[in-house]
Subunit: 217 residues, 4 copies
DNA sequence: AATGAATGAGTTTTCATTCAT
DNA sequence: GATGAATGAAAACTCATTCAT
């Protein structure tokens, strides 16, 4: 009955089990006993390590948002040395790759974000405010530098965020209805190209031309 | 003990209460008792009318997908008389408007669609297959008529669907983080322009030019 | 939706449905809605006619015990004119036949009799006291007349009652395990012979011989 | 809040409480809350140990049929060394004694056996088939050895089973109407004599006589 | 470090019944 | 005579958590 191979720490295996089940059935649709069974541990062990179901949820958010925000932050910092459109594109690519590599966690996070549980919101709101800050910087700096076409930022960010999250949020729909597989490495390469094109068409092209003209003069 | 004002039918008021609570807390996060309390009826009444919590869920899906698919179907049928890019845009507008008017239901639906409850999927899959069919028709007919630029359809549909659903799915994030209000009538007008622009840039422009050239010759 | 043929009164069809379901699933295992569905009436109708589930139960007991006790009573009265062993045998036969013709009701009654519901017992106890009275008379008169061998009555009655009720109480077991069919007319003929033999061997034979001797002298 | 005296294991005390209540009110007439209250535990504890009300029922069947069938099996095996009529009688006595010592369980079992719950039947049918097998062996071997009179087995078994179960099934009727007490040790001794007599008269006597004659010759 | 026993609170659903019509 | 709407009560069960070990 005892686990023979405890190479992977108990805590980690609980986390993995939780992510998988949250991904499939949602937070409210998953019971600690489900997690315990899948991780092959006693339910009490989960409370022991995570101090309750809530704690597992918080761990999930941390595991997602910390890398996610780091990618944005890196590119915002790079704005000082690299043109904004490039930074934006690199951020997009990193985020797509990260989500693809953690597609279960991603789907779960973006779904749960849309639930009005008071607890979730307390955890999340600061993350989202940071995201907003970085996103805005990326776009606004670009416009200031004429790397990006001037236009209201909000709608653009919404559109971009839509495209960044949707394939992972509705991954199963993509798989079953559209035969696309967001967790495969080649998917993000292709999908990235589409967003790249979107950035070029809506944001960059004219701006760059304007910039070129200005440079000529 | 009896209700005096049964102007709005009991069944309807249960449905409304359910939609609101599902929208806020998700299906699994909402109890029958919550719904009953909000609709000011006895919990048993819900089973009486909907034959269980499940039944309420099914009613939600029906209420959403039946109009939703009708809009798509209408425009697919219009393809015979009207240019594809226009049909596409009209479908987009109708869907945005419908979702805006039913933003609670919309958010809930698109969130729940991403949950792997076996029951949900049985209900949903046929709806989604129909959606796929109509969407493909709209794009492919357009390309055949040279109204739309030739390119792989799947990624376009995914992008479009992203943009159509996301503002409603993450409405609360939009409100709290971005001060945008998807349920307001002016939002969709503005947001529609962005998608319109996306269609023009990514899909139409060149195709129409090609068409013009062909017409000249 | 309305019943076309109301030839058989609603009340009767409710009763029939109830007997069938009680027979199969027991009183507590049957809901008024089950009965209503089977009788194709509204559940309220049952309360209307029988004044509640309880009332249906009482009707069942009446329908069973009134004929049942009448058969016993008839033979007790016949004791004045006919020899006791014959009366006993005739009672046995009548009861077997009656139960065979009402095997569903019989099974249900004998099962329910063994349940300590306070309500059931109030209804039943007077019936059972009457049964005891008649049974004792049948045996004791027989012994007084030397038609039956003298011996403690109680055990005999218990044995007889066992044999009278068991095939109907465990009818389904008889069917499935022993391929015997207590509701078929030929079954009771055969089964009667066995009880007849039992009566002859345990009760009559010696007594009759004694009687014969007495008559001779 | 914790129980101080867990001398009798919790599981066992739940089982005892359940048997008592099932005996009195039947399975469907007993709620888990009733059991929990009687066993002085939390209702959830019952699901914890028995995995639901159903599980308690199954435990009851096991506790009854395993010894019951063992007694039969023992005597069937003894057929090789001991005359069939003796084996039969010993089986009868063992079963009577066992039922007397477990009269609550016995009554409940024989009553519930007569209910057409699909679940009950799945559990039971294999037990009953085994019972049939042993019973037939006991009778048929006896007839082959001329220890028992030749005659159709089925009816005999039915009669025997009737007499074996009835006093326990209708124990309360026996007590209240006939002032007999099947759970008292002296009852089974007396009752056994009656069955013994039945066996001798219907089955053995002639056969033994035949056998004696054969031995003489 | 990890668990088995046990629970209080809460889940959905079913039940028998009532009452206006 | 018969019913549809509605319900209070109770059913079985599940849940996250605790605590002694």
């Amino acid at each position: 009955m005892k686990k023979l191979d405890t190479s992977k720490s108990t805590k980690e295996s609980i986390f993995k089990a939780a992510v998988y089940l949250f991904y499939d059935h949602g937070f409210d649709g998953t019971s600690v006993r489900d997690i315990a069974k899948r991780a092959d541990v006693n339910p009490a062990t989960i409370s022991y390590y995570f101090k309750g179901k809530q704690g597992v949820l918080e761990a999930c958010f941390t595991h997602f948002f910390e890398p996610y925000l780091r990618f944005l932050q890196e590119e915002v910092e790079a704005l000082n040395y690299v043109s904004a459109d490039l930074c934006l594109k690199r951020a997009v690519y990193k985020i797509l790759k990260f989500q693809s590599e953690n597609h279960q966690l991603s789907r779960f996070i973006w779904r749960e974000v849309s639930i009005d549980s008071q607890v979730v919101r307390e955890i999340i709101s600061s993350y989202l405010m940071k995201e907003r800050h970085y996103m805005k910087r990326l776009f606004e700096q670009g416009m200031k530098d004429h790397a990006l076409k001037k236009q209201p930022v909000s709608f653009l960010v919404i559109q971009l965020k839509s495209m960044l999250t949707m394939p992972f949020l509705h991954s199963q729909q993509l798989r079953e209805v559209w035969q696309m597989f967001p967790q495969e490495y080649y998917f993000i390469d292709q999908y990235y190209k589409n967003i790249d094109q979107w950035i070029d068409l809506l944001l960059v092209s004219e701006a760059k031309e304007v910039m070129k003209k200005e440079l000529i003069i």
